[in-house]
């Protein structure tokens, strides 16, 4: 699917007759059906992936088959409607959030223009409130008195295949970023609604490949990329070789080593592709610099968790490896690398799902003696917390001028910002490793940050135009600081961002690069015994 040229899209988002630009649809939203055509949907999951997952203990991914969203017949199970309604009932009983979010919306519309998908596509069903109404209308019909008595008059409608298709379309045009939830007077979190929709869809075999394939990989090989143990090790070793070439420092890293003090887990994308590779080099250098006794794991070689984008059971199963491996290796605690959705899982779900981690110790930095009380139970520390603490105690030898080629700004990833409250640690680090970095406009950062537009497993190429549209608000805020302050580097603490923002910048703001904060730390480190070349591009310099 060819992506629209920049000039076309730039015009289309402003002038297209959409709700975001001032046009009003003539038809009531209930009368508009979802139509799938190449480019507007992510590919359906492959049959063998669904079969594999369904065969795994504790997981339920039924109805594996060949099908396509473009077909009229989705080959749903005969009793699909019963399955969906029963599934909804079950979830209402399991999640108070769902019940409250179904019941309390007053349709004030405060959330409407807060969603990047709405701003970029202008599709009214991308207003968070309408996204939720897609489910709420069914809920009313089958679970509320008003809906049962008054039907359509009370905003209820019957569950049909058409509705199911609509659910598929719009639950995969939401990145569960929670921005809408910040503005809602009742904190209604459409991300929760999307999660429920996706869970329900999986009950009848409707899912996308870009999520289920990484999930299968992660289950089997330990990481989304499907890197087998030796390949994973090779990849890290390559990065270590690069570091040696650039700085003359040989790093002392290990894999699956029992008795290490710390287990380090980061998204596998960091050891797989640019620009994440440079972030991973930053980790290796940082740990070398401070002489941390740590190990990588090939079994728990994935920080990310695409299970979060399917259902809570899968999230739990994938996440379970972290504690299982920490226990097997006998480490004291875990440090986690830079990643957004990974930290949603670690911060808000891991301990509940797979704890208590009573075989670990409350994390304490061996260099500074700081105890991380905020991680007292989960026993997992964010690399930015760990690094900021090192800097505060003067344990890092840093030279900002080594980042002289960088004029940085900082992108808050959705999950650290809105599901964790990790805002100032990366900023503190930036203050100490680069000169004069700048903030984007205030309504686009911190808790109001805009999503990269491709989170929750939507970073697949077949929906590139959609991604460029939904990424517009973020890209536009970056453009603002490029024009004003000649920014050339968009820094972040998320592995998905490093990949997706790169595509986004290449499209909207060519010339602006993307990096992890740890890359900038690596650049600035003055290491003992170094024999550093003239690195005009930091770790990216070709020598």
């Amino acid at each position: 699917m060819a992506v629209a040229k920049l000039e076309q899209l730039a015009k289309s988002v402003v002038q297209g007759p959409t709700m975001a630009t001032g046009a009003v649809p003539v038809k009531d939203w209930m009368d508009v059906s979802a139509i799938f055509k190449p480019g507007n949907y992510a590919y359906q999951a492959k049959q063998e992936k669904v079969e594999y997952l369904n065969s795994q203990k504790g997981l339920h991914f039924p109805n594996a088959r060949e099908w396509s969203p473009e077909d009229d017949d989705w080959k749903l199970p005969e009793n699909w409607k019963e399955i969906i309604l029963k599934g909804l009932k079950e979830r209402l009983d399991k999640f108070r959030s769902l019940k409250i979010f179904m019941d309390c919306c007053v349709r004030c519309g405060a959330c409407a223009d807060k969603c990047h998908f709405f701003l970029g596509t202008g599709d009214p069903k991308n207003m968070p409130v309408l996204r939720a109404e897609l489910l709420r209308s069914i809920y009313r019909n089958d679970f509320t008195l008003g809906g049962k008595l008054l039907g359509k008059m009370a905003g209820a409608r019957e569950m049909t295949v058409g509705v199911l298709k609509e659910w598929f379309m719009y639950s995969y045009q939401c990145t569960e970023c929670r921005r809408c939830s910040v503005f809602c007077p009742y904190g209604i979190d459409t991300a929760e609604v999307t999660m429920m929709l996706r869970e329900l869809l999986h009950l009848v075999g409707v899912g996308i490949n870009w999520i289920l394939e990484p999930v299968s990989n992660s289950n089997r090989t330990g990481n989304h990329m499907g890197l087998q143990p030796h390949t994973f090790k090779d990849n890290v070793d390559f990065l270590a070789d690069d570091i040696e070439n650039l700085t003359g420092i040989k790093t002392n890293h290990s894999f699956n080593r029992k008795g290490a003090e710390v287990l380090f887990i980061t998204p596998s994308a960091d050891v797989f592709a640019e620009p994440g590779l440079y972030t991973a080099m930053g980790y290796l250098m940082l740990f070398e610099h401070i002489g941390l006794d740590y190990t990588w794991s090939t079994y728990a070689s994935e920080g990310g968790n695409f299970g979060l984008f399917t259902n809570n059971e899968t999230m739990k199963k994938l996440n379970g490896k972290m504690y299982a491996e920490a226990k097997r290796l006998g480490v004291k605690y875990i440090i986690g690398g830079e990643c957004g959705h990974m930290w949603r899982v670690v911060h808000q779900y891991m301990d509940t799902m797979n704890g208590p981690a009573d075989f670990l110790e409350v994390p304490k930095s061996p260099m500074t003696g700081t105890t991380f009380h905020n991680a007292a139970s989960t026993k997992m520390v964010h690399i930015s917390e760990f690094t900021a603490d090192l800097i505060k105690h003067g344990k890092l030898n840093l030279d900002k001028s080594r980042n002289a080629h960088v004029k940085a700004t900082f992108h808050d990833s959705c999950n650290p910002a809105r599901a964790m409250g990790l805002l100032d640690e990366p900023r503190y680090i930036l203050d100490h490793v680069v000169d004069g970095w700048v903030e984007m406009p205030e309504n686009t950062i911190r808790e109001q940050t805009f999503c990269c537009g491709s989170g929750t497993g939507l970073n697949t190429d077949e929906i590139m135009e959609l991604r460029m549209r939904s990424g517009l608000p973020r890209a536009n805020a970056v453009k603002h600081v490029i024009d004003k302050h000649a920014v050339n580097m968009l820094s972040c603490v998320c592995a998905i961002d490093r990949a997706t923002l790169t595509s986004l910048m290449n499209y909207w703001n060519p010339g602006c690069n993307v990096c992890g904060v740890s890359e900038l730390v690596g650049n600035a480190l003055i290491m003992e015994g170094e024999n550093r070349q003239e690195l005009t591009e930091g770790l990216r310099t070709l020598v």
Binding site: V24, C104, C105, K114, L119, R418, L423, Y428, E447
Partner: protein, 341 residues
């Protein structure tokens, strides 16, 4: 046409009460039976709904963090936007409930040529929502004067403040004006703001028109149709209702029955509608939970211990040869594993 429907519905209600209450003998129905019924529905329904919510657990700790969390001691926590203790959560909830904190953040976005997306602060909804809600609250509180004898001192103060402008006879209450203005704004934006219009349902227009009509009939009684009603009889009825010995005196006036009937409708409708946001706002997990899930384990009552990760043993069995080749430590050496096999 949804907005027109809400008018029809309320007009029908007004006709029912206006005509019905004039049929001899029906005053008891409109003055006593329906109010009791409505109160029962309101209280019963409200309690039922809240209990029903409470029945579902909160399996995960999912606060939406809107500021810096508690972390290192040199990083300043935003205690009200990202609370970790119960006191801090209470602070956050207080701001939400009394000042509509989240709505205060509201912005309006526009896309201009370039493209350039802008977000300008937009506090109108917040302002008029506050005006409406506080006026409603004050009006409800002021009505307590009908049910209480003697009238408590605080109520007299409230009335004094509310009528401090001393316009007209009887003195005009500010909240009477404010609630109408608030409702007109809220209704108007449903007609004018395109995306709000598009999402609005009957259930959104109806309560606004209903409350508007309640306010208007109330105002009519107080300022314009004073002679049609007998305030003493009304107070007697009200006190009779709360002491479970209601008496209907003569000459209460149709306008009063209309007012009362609309209030009964609101009470009965309340628990089955979006008006339950009054209860929900207290129970929303994204707002009423502490952001402490890493320091204190949150328990999920239905957590399934049977869901275990793909085991390390299974992983090593599949990849042992590669691991040994690559020099990655293994639990079972190749020979040992083969012996067993």
């Amino acid at each position: 046409m949804k907005y027109a429907f809400s008018f029809l519905a309320v007009i029908a209600l007004i006709l029912i009460a206006g005509l019905g209450s004039q049929i001899p003998g029906m005053q008891y129905l409109f003055g006593v039976v329906l109010p009791y019924l409505a109160i029962m529905l309101f209280v019963g329904g409200f309690v039922y709904r809240v209990m029903d919510w409470a029945k579902s657990p909160v399996p995960f700790s999912i606060p939406t963090t809107c500021g810096q969390g508690s972390s290192l001691d040199f990083i300043k926590q935003d205690k009200l936007e990202c609370p970790t203790t119960t006191t801090e959560v209470a602070g956050r909830m207080f701001l939400e409930i009394f000042f509509f904190r989240s709505l205060f953040r509201n912005t309006k976005s526009e896309i201009h040529d370039g493209p350039k997306v802008t977000y300008e602060s937009s506090k109108w909804l917040w302002l008029f929502a506050l005006i409406f809600h506080y006026s409603f609250l004050v009006i409800v509180l002021r009505h307590m004067r009908f049910f209480l004898e003697p009238v408590p001192f605080v109520l007299s103060i409230l009335e004094g403040v509310d009528s401090m402008l001393q316009i007209g006879q009887p003195a005009m209450y500010l909240t009477d004006v404010f609630i109408l203005v608030g409702l007109l704004f809220l209704y108007g934006r449903r007609l004018i703001t395109r995306h709000v219009k598009y999402i609005s349902l009957n259930n959104d227009y109806f309560p606004l028109v209903l409350i508007f009509s309640i306010a208007v009939t109330g105002i009519l009684m107080r300022y314009f149709l004073r002679t049609d009603i007998d305030i003493i009889n009304i107070k007697n009825l009200a006190i009779g209702l709360v002491t479970f010995s209601p008496v209907i005196g003569a000459k209460i006036g149709a306008i009063f029955y209309i007012h009362l009937f609309l209030v009964c409708t609101l009470l009965a409708y309340f628990p089955f509608s979006k008006l339950m946001h009054m209860g929900g706002v207290f129970m929303s997990p994204t707002r009423n939970m502490a952001n402490n899930s890493r320091s204190k384990r949150h328990i999920n009552p239905w957590n399934d211990p049977e869901i275990k990760p793909h085991s390390y043993a299974g992983y090593e069995d599949e990849f042992r040869e590669f691991m040994v080749d690559a020099g990655i430590p293994v639990e079972k050496e190749l020979a040992a594993a083969e012996d067993k096999a």
